[in-house]
Amino acid sequence: MTTAAPTLDLNVLYREHGRLVLRRIRRFYRADQAPDILQEVFARAVEKADTYRGDASPIAWLYGLTTHHCLARLRDEKRRRELLDEVGEVPWTSPVSPSTTESKVFLAELWRTVDPELAQIGVYYYLDGMSQADIGELLGVTGRTVSNRLQQLSDLARDAAGGSP
């Protein structure tokens, strides 16, 4: 991992990692919507600068910050939509397979109804295909915590799908 400066320099952050943020935004929003949200995320980065560990790479921090911002923004939209219904696949991602009932239920509706942390875990797991250990490392929680939260999500998804195991 790279070593970052102990304090955040917005110019440097944008120059070096702006495209990371843009790519992450494009996972949730169309290309024409992304530039505005890019500005929002960097404004958010300034607000949340105290959560950045100065001795760590900003990559994971920005990735998490962007994911959280996009989910919060989507949740606030008045119009109901599935998580990816207007975006589809972007060229630098590849589908996580196979699509399970749980993942379909989560991406269709469940993501909107659960608490933000659980929604974020669901996105990392069902959409990004990250391992539980990696999710835990990204969020700063134990793998066991992630496992428990995913079980909770799985139960909710089964209930939403009609209760079949």
């Binding site: 110019n11 440097v12 060229p91 630098w92 990004d128």
Partner: protein, 240 residues
């Protein structure tokens, strides 16, 4: 952090570490052998960073160097537009002889076999278009290509009715042109102009290890059935 999904490919986050030049240890070996992930890497590297209002010059300078082809003088623009259009049913095509040196925009080929970049001529500048961007009737579009291997190259388009039209080369009788490998984007000496029919326009670059013709390849592209030994890259625009 491991950075690998259950199917063995890189997570999007791991891809970001690799793009930053600091691949996660567990992903380095995979990147050496996986064409899919190296293609993802190259596609991700193609994303252009817009200017962020409120930030100062260092950001703007980075933006220009990274993604946008701009030049102060017309003679140095990525392409020179010919006067007069050759009207066609779907798109008016303009063949343009070029006299220019390739510009270094700092993009490197990281494994993708073929990359198509599309630019819109706006007089003094030629901003690069992204997937889903809007274009207007009369817009003049130029192309840059980078290709890992030598081969036969063609750029074609599919209009809103899925009818194909040839963008490049215009003067080879509908046959692909033989081209050397180009690790950096190089401009093509011909451009197209959008007609006034609204709808989706898909621009497709095709590079094959053998000669091919427009009609046959257009059918294969429309059928999403690319012949073996061919690579493809495409960009979809919305014309209003």
């Amino acid at each position: 952090m491991n950075g690998l999904r259950e199917d063995g490919h890189l997570t999007d986050l791991a891809l970001e570490y690799a793009l930053a030049g600091t691949p996660l240890p567990a992903t380095a070996a995979h990147l050496d052998t996986c064409a899919e992930c190296t293609a993802r890497l190259a596609a991700a590297d193609d994303v252009a960073l817009p200017e962020l209002p409120g930030l100062q010059m260092p950001v703007q300078a980075a933006v220009v160097a990274d993604a946008v082809a701009q030049a102060p003088e017309p003679a140095n623009r990525p392409w020179v537009w010919a006067v007069g259009a050759l009207a066609a049913a779907a798109v008016a095509l303009i063949a343009v002889p070029l006299a220019m040196a390739p510009q270094d925009d700092g993009v490197r080929v990281k494994g993708a076999a073929l990359s198509l970049q599309v630019y819109r001529d706006e007089g003094e500048t030629s901003p690069r278009l992204k997937d889903g961007d809007l274009v207007s009737p009369g817009d003049r579009l130029g192309f840059r290509i980078r290709n890992r291997d030598r081969g036969w190259l063609m750029v074609l388009g599919l209009d809103a009715a899925d009818d194909p039209y040839l963008c490049y080369p215009q003067n080879e009788g509908g046959r692909a042109v033989e081209t050397d490998a180009s690790p950096r984007p190089r401009p093509l000496p011909e451009a197209i102009r959008m007609d006034d029919t609204p709808g989706t326009e898909t621009l497709v670059a095709v590079l094959c290890d053998r000669p091919f013709a427009f009609e046959a390849m257009a059918e294969r592209v429309r059928a999403d059935d690319l012949p073996e030994g061919c690579a493809i890259d495409e960009l979809t625009l919305e014309k209003r």
